[in-house]
Subunit: 496 residues, 2 copies
């Protein structure tokens, strides 16, 4: 009955229930699961593994593309399915377990997991669980709405479990472009010179003998949980667009700009939405994830094409997209995250990276991950892949959080994910600071006056002026540098 | 009389004194000078510019490859020749001026300056000053012992001054491989697949009409100032070699390893010297600088070939090298630093990067640049280029400094140049911590027990244990995290 989706007849006998497939797992295995920013994740196995863990917690090392949907991470963490997790997550329950130390979390650049699997720096995958649209006659696995690390998991795995999701239309076939670098030392240049180039195959190649189980599901991806734009995100969008218009006016870019990357989340999504009102045309995206905004820009004609590793949409846009895939077929490419985030390609194309900061400091260092400097939020994701190697690293944040109790602009960030060497532009609703070519002593006044909330500017100025008296390339008062964070921890507010 | 070195006859009339050439400069110009880690720097113009600055300080923006020799940076800083300096320096006088704020210093990844010149993020070069062995019949400039950013400066410059150094033997011709990426969006993959590949020309192409002056010099490069190996650097070398032998034993590398990069300085040089006693054969280097150790390994046969952007040697090795260049001609390639440090190549080849840390913390963050968190030492150099994108990022440091008053292992680094995401292995004379695949909570005990000086271990354990009580992915006591640095500032010692 699934012949149009399982096109290699001898594999039909591998169809089984999720519970049966879950019996393939043993404690302490290393498991790779499809899924990237809530898209393309396995829907049945996570819950079956929760059942399987009753009595004997599996304690797996779970590697994914990025975050999972369907509360899977939380359910698995609560049930003891997961002992170790990488490279990214965004689940409230798992986050709590990470911050108590019950689950160990390795917070990795998203381009690097595949490389570490290939080199053996990470243990080989025992079982890969991959959501698919279909299995081809040659055994090739056609992914759904995300490629993520799935091709690398399949390459490394002893056994592969395919979740065939009937809710994922067959029309998705052909959207993917699967290319993985060879092992060293015989690695060739990646032959991708423009965001839309197709350099691989449309399915993940696998020896069918390694497909140990096929589980049938029929449920859509979790909808994205970004918030709608508001006055502050609109202001951030205006500042970014004005800056990019300035780059064009100065002759440093054409009106097509350079390929855009936008991180997951509300602010980056809002900035992209803002581009609909801009004068830019013929834009391209070379990003890790496409959100509602990318579909809107493709529909509006501002965006000529988009490359990513995942598409994660709100429920209505998701439904529209799946109903009209043909509209987008020639303008969207889904790649392995190793390729969407690859240093080689990010530098070659000269990506404009737009990512969200939790906080940044007066010298331009960015904290993307650690609340209060110690507690994990989600993870660095791909922000570092793009900031380290792209043409422009833009970080956006609202200037305050928690109704003003927290300033996003601080004397010194309490955790550094992106160093001053990698950060080009900082933006809040108040304004934009272009740090390129500036020394730290020049950056501080600019960041304070352009980006900080007015309520915090005097205190930041005072800190910087007193720090200058102690001298240095990056003047600080080490006895006060983290006092704002400590005060917030003790009193609930950064202000004295 | 210079016909064998100036092979385009009409250029002979451009020969002039350094003082005459210095009159081409005007205040606030942007100037690019050859020179990378004391090698291949202009010898005459810096001093002529010091004279030229009397009465009217030039206040130039000075961009180089990396550090200059001959005290040039210090002399120019003292005379007001330099107002702004990038991307690297290593001069005591200039360092003082940077830390007082008299000279503004932009501390950049060495691969990025050329890119920023090309894109216009940095101002165009008014005058390039390039040390050369010869000017060819086609106008091509043959560099001396460093390529650095010279090709990019020449490409961008309105005027070019060539310093023809008669002390640099003509036999250097042919050692260089000049390749620059094209401007975007028409950029092709860089066609380099192995460390020794030659992909460009052996001279820097320039329209001879832009050669405004030729100044004749006759003085050798400043000798390198690395210290000889000692007991502690020998121990560090032994730990690194044992680790690499373990990688081979585990099947993650062949006995040829992967291409090696070693940062400038005493410890990295000592580790490479240690390889002479190892079982590795057929090694390659793809580095930014070659020091004495590389020549010794080439002579000893452990090293098959070496690619770099500069060769900086002690006086006796320098003399030997110049006298016997033919021995090395097929085994050394000198490239632009944009290519020696390029993200695309560093990831493709899978570089093993070996760089020196000033300090690192119990979670694996590295400070390479800021003494006490605030005062510039030299700059990040190429360490980030390799750590961000290579296969293995190894950072080495002696466990203590200033006779034990400073611990190189601290609760929290006071400045972050390399984040926990980018650091794989930490080494001191006490041992080695392999951080790959570990969560921060797992790294801390390992780093403390393996790397910290025994005199500091109890205090580090105590910090970590109390921090764990506050929870988090990266537990810290923000009120104490930088107290060791502050105590050192106030009392001269980190210990209470």
């Amino acid at each position: 009955m699934y012949a149009h989706r399982i096109r290699r007849p001898e594999l039909l006998v591998r169809v089984m229930s999720a519970d049966a497939a879950a019996r393939l797992f043993a404690p302490a295995m290393t498991v790779g699961m499809s899924g990237f920013t809530r898209a393309g994740d396995a829907k049945a196995l996570p819950r079956a593994l929760v059942e399987r863990s009753r009595g004997e917690p599996l304690g797996l090392t779970l590697i994914t593309g990025a975050s999972l949907g369907n509360d899977s991470d939380g359910l698995m963490a609560n049930a003891g399915v997961i002992a170790r997790r990488l490279p990214f997550q965004a689940d409230a329950t798992l986050r709590r377990k990470i911050n108590t130390g019950e689950v160990l979390f390795i917070d990795q650049h998203l381009s690097e997991t595949a490389e570490q699997l290939r080199s053996g720096a990470l243990p080989a995958i025992d079982i890969a669980v991959i959501e698919a649209v279909a299995i081809r006659g040659d055994g090739g696995i056609v992914p759904t709405m995300a490629v993520g690390n799935s091709a690398s998991f399949v390459q490394s795995a002893k056994q592969v479990i395919v979740e065939l999701n009937l809710a994922a239309p067959l029309a998705l076939e052909g959207l993917h472009d699967i290319y993985l670098p060879r092992a060293r030392p015989d690695r060739a240049p990646i032959p991708l010179a423009a965001p839309g180039d197709r350099i691989g195959t449309t399915a993940i190649q696998v020896d069918p003998a390694r497909i140990a189980a096929i589980v049938i599901t029929d449920s859509p991806d979790s909808p994205s949980n970004v918030q709608p734009p508001d006055g502050e995100t609109d202001a951030i969008a205006r500042h970014v667009i004005a800056f990019l218009e300035g780059e064009v006016a100065a002759g440093r870019m054409t009106p097509r700009l350079l390929p855009l990357q936008a991180g997951i989340g509300t602010i980056a999504n809002a900035v992209l939405h803002g581009l609909a009102q801009s004068s830019f045309r013929g834009l391209t995206m070379y990003s890790e994830v496409l959100q509602d905004s990318a579909i809107a820009l493709l529909d509006g004609g501002q965006l000529a094409l988009a490359s990513a590793s995942s598409i994660t949409l709100s429920a209505p846009v998701h439904e529209q997209f799946l109903a009209h895939i043909e509209r987008y077929r020639d303008r969207i490419v889904l790649r392995p995250q190793e390729i969407s985030n690859h240093p080689e390609i990010v530098r070659r194309l000269g990506i404009i990276g737009l990512n969200t900061a939790l906080e940044f400091d007066i010298y331009g260092n960015v904290n993307s991950t650690h609340v209060g400097g110690t507690h994990m939020m989600n993870g660095i994701g791909g922000s570092g892949d793009f900031a380290r190697n792209g043409e422009l690293a833009i970080f956006v944040s609202k200037s305050e959080a928690k109704n003003g109790a927290i300033s996003s602009v601080v004397p010194m960030v309490a955790h550094v994910d992106h160093t001053e060497h990698d950060v080009d532009v900082l933006v809040t609703e108040w304004g934009l600071a272009d740090l390129r070519g500036l020394a730290p002593r020049e950056r501080a006044p600019l960041i304070i006056e352009r980006c900080a909330h007015p309520a915090y500017r005097a205190a930041l100025r005072d800190y910087h002026e007193r720090a200058l008296l102690r001298g240095g390339q990056t003047p600080h008062l080490l006895d006060e540098a983290l006092a704002w964070h400590e005060r917030h921890r003790l009193t609930g507010a950064m202000q004295p």
